[in-house]
Symmetry: C2
Subunit: 272 residues, 2 copies
């Protein structure tokens, strides 16, 4: 999947919503069995209910790995529920020496049919290169994350006064192109997002931290939306746990629909 | 498992070898079937042959994830082959926002019985904290890695002239203690290792990059060995693929034995 495919989908759905399938057994609605059947039924219903509003889905591997190899089976199965036109992200934050990263790429791009994977830049170019070599696949590199710990290293300034997250944007953007590379930019940093966008004017940004973590959609768009929108904004818990009863799928559709409705206005405002 | 347990094992075996089970289907000896049985038989025989010389085993998750959920089953199964007295490392390089890291911790420490997991520091304190809260478990934080890409960000110097990997050592060492925290220090950096050791004089270091990647065991020890040795030196391919015929396990034992023999001299030299 290339950038043009995502843009087409954003225009079609008038939404740049990425729904995060952060599913946990303990949070399933009471009427669903707390087993593989309940877990998968939940994911399937949530996807069916939210797909009119979502151009992308994100599966955070941690939520599945906590259930071991069975959880991996559920991840593989869940992937098959996602509509083919949606941009399928493995939120895995992987990264290792070259030949090892190649195996992660094989796991998520070849064996499973994810379109994209989140990666950590700490180990540098050869740790990202193998992912970039897969045609029509995308890496989404951590730059400025939404959690409190972003202070510890990402904001460290070098001798030229450039922060680590800025160096990451500057260097990593040279290793890929706007088709195979996006960046993670936390929606809680409205003060920094404009500066961040200036460094990567044409790359898509994956934005977590809207809703539960406190970021504002309109503010994020004001600082980072491009003429192609250039954003995928993620919401997970706010959508999938919007309801906790038998109408959970309807409630999820309502929550996703409300976000998409707000996005529709922003698409009209910014997209050419 | 605590630091004292590892030290006892090092004294007992007169070795600080960590054998890496970087198993690949395509590299199995010709006589083994290229399926789950062959893969697991290989791991089981390698562990049996190398355990007199190894105080630790390292399973790199990428090698298993490339085979999908089935690969995760093989990882879980392989873990059961490791002798209880050995220090069992998941080389997973995970790290995410707090509650998500907690799920990785649950996956590797609770569901599986790893003693330690490698983590990436990029997302800061709250991304490592949940791992540190597990009693008797250890995180091994990336500091200075052995791959070419270590240049890209780890050696970036801040306004006080301190490199990112040094800031990682300095800050992360305050979040844990010498029982629940180790660092990855590439064996290819003999020029930097003395400086690195000075920053974390009492933490164990996990050292990759000896052998295939060119690092020298005696040089690494000269720069970083403490009175407790304070090192786990990893070898993967050099041991597990030392032979490619029916005597592969014997060859692996010979390769592990040769390293352990060299280590025995260093244990005598440095350990009190």
């Amino acid at each position: 999947m290339k950038k043009a495919d995502i843009i087409r989908e954003i225009k079609q759905k008038r939404s740049f919503l990425c729904t995060g399938l952060d599913t946990e057994m303990g949070k399933l609605p009471a009427h669903l069995p707390k087993n593989d059947l309940g877990f998968l039924r939940f994911n399937q219903e949530i996807v069916a209910a939210t797909s009119p509003f979502s151009v992308s889905y994100k599966i955070n591997t941690a939520f599945y790995e906590q259930y071991g190899s069975e959880g991996w089976q559920w991840m593989e199965e869940t992937l098959s529920y996602l509509p083919p036109e949606t941009f399928k992200i493995a939120d895995a934050k992987r990264g290792d020496i070259g030949n090892t990263s190649g195996m992660y790429a094989k796991a998520f791009f070849d064996r499973m049919s994810f379109d994209a994977i989140t990666v950590s830049p700490y180990m540098g170019e050869d740790s990202l290169r193998p992912f970039l070599e897969f045609p029509d696949k995308t890496i989404i590199c951590l730059a400025l994350t939404s959690n409190p710990g972003h202070h510890d290293f990402q904001l460290m300034h070098d001798t030229e006064g450039i922060a680590l997250y800025e160096r990451v944007l500057e260097r990593v953007s040279k290793w890929g192109n706007t088709d195979n590379l996006m960046f993670v930019a936390g929606g809680t940093h409205t003060d920094i997002l404009r500066k961040l966008r200036a460094l990567v004017p044409e790359h898509f940004l994956l934005v977590p931290g809207i809703g539960a973590q406190g970021g504002s959609l309109s503010e994020v768009a004001a600082h980072t939306a491009t003429q192609e929108i250039g954003l995928l904004v993620n919401s997970s818990r706010g959508i999938i746990y919007a309801g906790s009863n038998e109408d959970y799928a309807e409630k999820a559709a309502e929550a996703a629909g409300a976000l998409a409705s707000e996005m529709s206005g922003l698409v009209a405002q910014y997209m050419v």
